[in-house]
Amino acid sequence: MFKFPKIALLLTLFLTSLTVVAQSTKYPGIGRDATSKEVAAWDIDVRPDFKGLPAGSGSVAKGQDVWETKCAQCHGIFGESNEVFSPLIGGTTAADIKTGRVANLTRADYPGRTTIMKVASVSSLWDYINRAMPWTNPKTLSTEEVYAVTGFMLNLAGIVPDDFVLSNKNIAEVQQRMPNRNGMTTAHAMWPGKEFGNAAKPDTQNVICMTNCVTEPKLASFLPDFARNAHGNLSEQNRTVGQQKGADTTRPEGNTDKTSATPNTFATTSPVATKSTDSKSDNKAVLALLSKNLCSACHGIDKKIVGPGLTEIAKKYPGKVDYLAGKIKAGGSGVWGAIPMPAQNISEADAKIIANWLANEAPK
């Protein structure tokens, strides 16, 4: 009877302190424990030490099949395309695989930097493909497909052989062949914490100087003349009143008609000329549909992105509403090139509207 209350007291104290230290109970009724099913559904990240990587495997051969149906449209057959996104593959060598440093990254004259040139951790590829690819249907690849596509990319870069099967068991060995695995540093002062034991001092040390600070300034770089109007008419991108106006870049410099930009012209001030949009509304609605159904990810208005430009299609099929509606839904290949257009999950009504616009109203 003597001992028990003491133990109980100690136990209570112990438990209380545990609760206070580890878990706040300040806000009763807020939040609940997540179920293991819920955590499993969302906790998909994979770390460089492969924590979070699900067991599984996928072959390079299988990866090639997946690649050609789901990836090549944007990234090119060999991961080399820069038409939609930055190139993924290229620029690495067998020597890089040995050293773990991509030599081309030291060359100022090397034209581009591909994903495989930069990435140090193979987990980053696996994790990203799994969470965000394919572009229009993220998180729809099976675990096997993610392994397979990752393996296929590594094969394109010469990191694994043609008959390789990437799996959770051999991925750590593959990591030791990543061409830029030794290419990262945290020796800088730009991480907002001390977790990396990183440098504390910023890498530039400018000082405050107030008079005669530098010799006569020399212009080292200048916006080229042909780029003056490259972003559109700058007079339409500044407020119409204020201490300055936007330059009318549709006219040569120095010929700006100042009177048109003078604030106190005596003509009735009118709002900025906005071109009538009423008759454009149909086109606008179609453009919105094209965007909503992700057509515009692959088809530009007048230029090819992955598939042909819409004006090219319109020119080829005047009046052929049903044919176009069918193609929009079913996809196809061979008419405009080898890259297939997959079947589209688009409503009949939307497909008809777009087909009708292409066949009858779109610019030819």
């Binding site: 580890a22 878990q23 706040s24 806000y27 807020i30 424990d33 997540a34 819920e38 955590v39 990240d45 440093r101 990435v119 140090a120 987990s123 980053s124 965000a132 990262m184 945290t186 800088h188 002062a189 991480w191 907002p192 977790e195 530039t204 400018n206 107030m210 530098v214 006569e216 300034p217 080292a220 916006l223 042909f226 780029a227 490259a230 972003h231 008419n233 700058l234 339409e236 991108q237 500044n238 407020r239 119409t240 300055q244 106006k245 936007g246 330059a247 410099e253 100042k258 930009a261 604030p263 106190n264 005596f266 900025v272 071109k275 008759s279 454009k280 086109n283 515009s296 208005i301 007048d302």
Partner: protein, 461 residues
């Protein structure tokens, strides 16, 4: 969708006359080559006396009094009473959610032509050249999407905490909004802001050089409050992964030390209303002082861990290439930076005389301490007035009186933050990091005011 259609259904290059891919390549390659001869010629011409008289002769209106008395003895805008002074105006709630004046339609966030091939993985730039004070109107806040934006039903949005915690937790928006909230002004700047000018001048206006920058009052709950509710291991859990709920499911590693300091917020409010869908409605992370990509939108989950995560946007992008070929990884702080927004590239000064030079300064390490402004390309400087409020890791507005004599002038601003760090010159930055870096360009910006009044984006050395 870059092109638009005109009334007749014909294609026009509008509204911004986008560059063709070939032209874009030309801009960048000519930019790369430096164009030194061209520049020398251009500047020599701009400075010479003959050029000055030519410019003055060709633009007489530039020197005219801009508010003259007309011959009839008075301004008709004064003498003839306008309709709005003699008629009945409109009623309340005509616009249930008010819009800017129709005369303000030039202020829009805009894409930079040729920068990206899709609109879903792209950016639009805020019109800094026409904004006042420090707050960015929510509808003009810059956009950066990685896989398109969504308007998510907040009643179905959930926030999860797992990893090195005593109990993994889920929260509804109702629950998060019941917790004690804070409201704080912070800037958000994309790590790639001013990236196009790393090597050479490439774009015409401050909207495109510095427009991946905005500042809002954010309202939300300190993340540490939520981590404590889950019983997070704050000692061994040195890193937190933040993850978005959209298609890209953006992930970034956040340092625990910044979270325990109470600065990192799980935010739902922006400038008095909820976040805009383009900015992460209904929930986003606010990580003051760090590049925008860490401010994960549509925030669905954080995971506490003992190692960094090397997510795609901290292993392949948002890494800083050094001349050695090494990349700086986990470089996240936006260091002290400033820019003059008036006068700035693409603007025209209409007259000699008084101007208020104005601009923005900010630092990811705290408050702005001072801003100096030069009108002679960095030779002589004057200290600008810092307007209130001056807040930590927020935009600060500076102003300086200036009388333009009509001669060419190169305008610069140079900010210093409370750590005593001074914004670097281009040369200092390039000496350390080279010219092939993409991110974290915080160099001093130069604008050349030419004799004809037109302002150009230039770089000095």
């Amino acid at each position: 969708m870059k092109d638009q259609l005109n009334d007749s259904g014909r294609i026009i290059k509008a509204p911004e006359n986008f560059l063709t891919p070939t032209d874009v390549k030309m801009v960048f390659s000519e930019g790369k080559q430096g164009r030194r001869d061209f520049i020398r010629r251009a500047f020599a011409a701009a400075s010479s006396a003959t050029a000055a008289s030519v410019a003055a002769a060709s633009a007489p209106a530039a020197w005219a009094q801009s508010n003259p008395i007309p011959s009839e003895g008075g301004d008709p805008n004064i003498l003839n009473l306008p309709e709005h002074a003699t008629g009945l105006g409109q009623g309340v709630a005509t616009e249930a959610y008010g819009k800017p004046s129709k005369f303000e339609s030039n202020l829009q966030r805009r894409q930079s032509p040729g920068l990206t091939q899709t609109t879903q993985s792209s950016v639009s730039f805020a019109p800094l050249q026409s904004l006042f004070g420090i707050v960015t109107p929510s509808g003009l806040h810059f956009e950066r999407h990685h896989q398109g934006w969504w308007d998510i039903d907040p009643s179905r949005h959930r926030f999860m905490i797992n990893g090195m915690v005593k109990n993994a937790k889920v929260f509804t928006m109702d629950e998060i909004m019941r917790l004690p909230s804070v409201s704080r002004f912070h800037f958000i700047e994309c790590g790639a802001n001013t990236a196009v000018d790393w090597g050479n001048v490439a774009v015409p206006t401050v909207q495109y050089t510095h427009g991946m920058l905005s500042c809002s009052e954010f309202t939300g709950v300190p993340l540490i409050t939520l981590l404590e509710l889950a019983g997070a291991d704050l000692k061994n859990g040195k890193f937190v992964l933040a993850e978005g709920g959209d298609g890209s499911s953006m992930t970034r590693t956040i340092p625990m030390s910044l979270i325990t300091s109470g600065q990192v917020l799980v935010a739902y409010g922006q400038n008095g209303e909820m976040l805009r869908p383009e900015n992460g409605y209904p929930l986003r992370l606010v990580v003051p002082g760090t590049q925008g990509v860490s401010w994960v939108k549509y925030l669905r989950r954080v995971e506490v861990g003992d190692q960094p995560y090397a997510a795609k946007d901290e292993a392949i992008h948002y890494i800083d290439l050094q001349p050695s070929g090494l990349h700086r990884q986990y470089a996240s702080i936006q260091e002290c930076k400033s820019v003059v927004t008036t006068p700035s590239g693409g603007q025209v000064l209409l007259d000699k005389g008084f101007y208020n030079i104005t601009g923005l300064a900010w630092s990811g390490k705290g408050k702005i301490k001072r801003v100096d402004v030069s009108t002679d390309g960095g030779r002589n400087w004057r200290q600008a007035r810092l307007e209130t409020p001056v807040l930590s890791k927020a935009l600060s507005r500076f102003n300086l009186d200036w009388i333009w004599d009509g001669k060419p002038a190169i305008i610069q601003s140079r900010a210093q933050d409370e750590t005593a760090y001074v914004q670097p010159m281009y040369k200092q930055l390039r000496d350390v990091r080279g010219t092939r870096s993409i991110y974290h360009n915080n160099a001093i910006q130069s604008w050349l005011v030419q004799e004809n009044g037109e302002v150009k984006n230039v770089q000095v050395s």
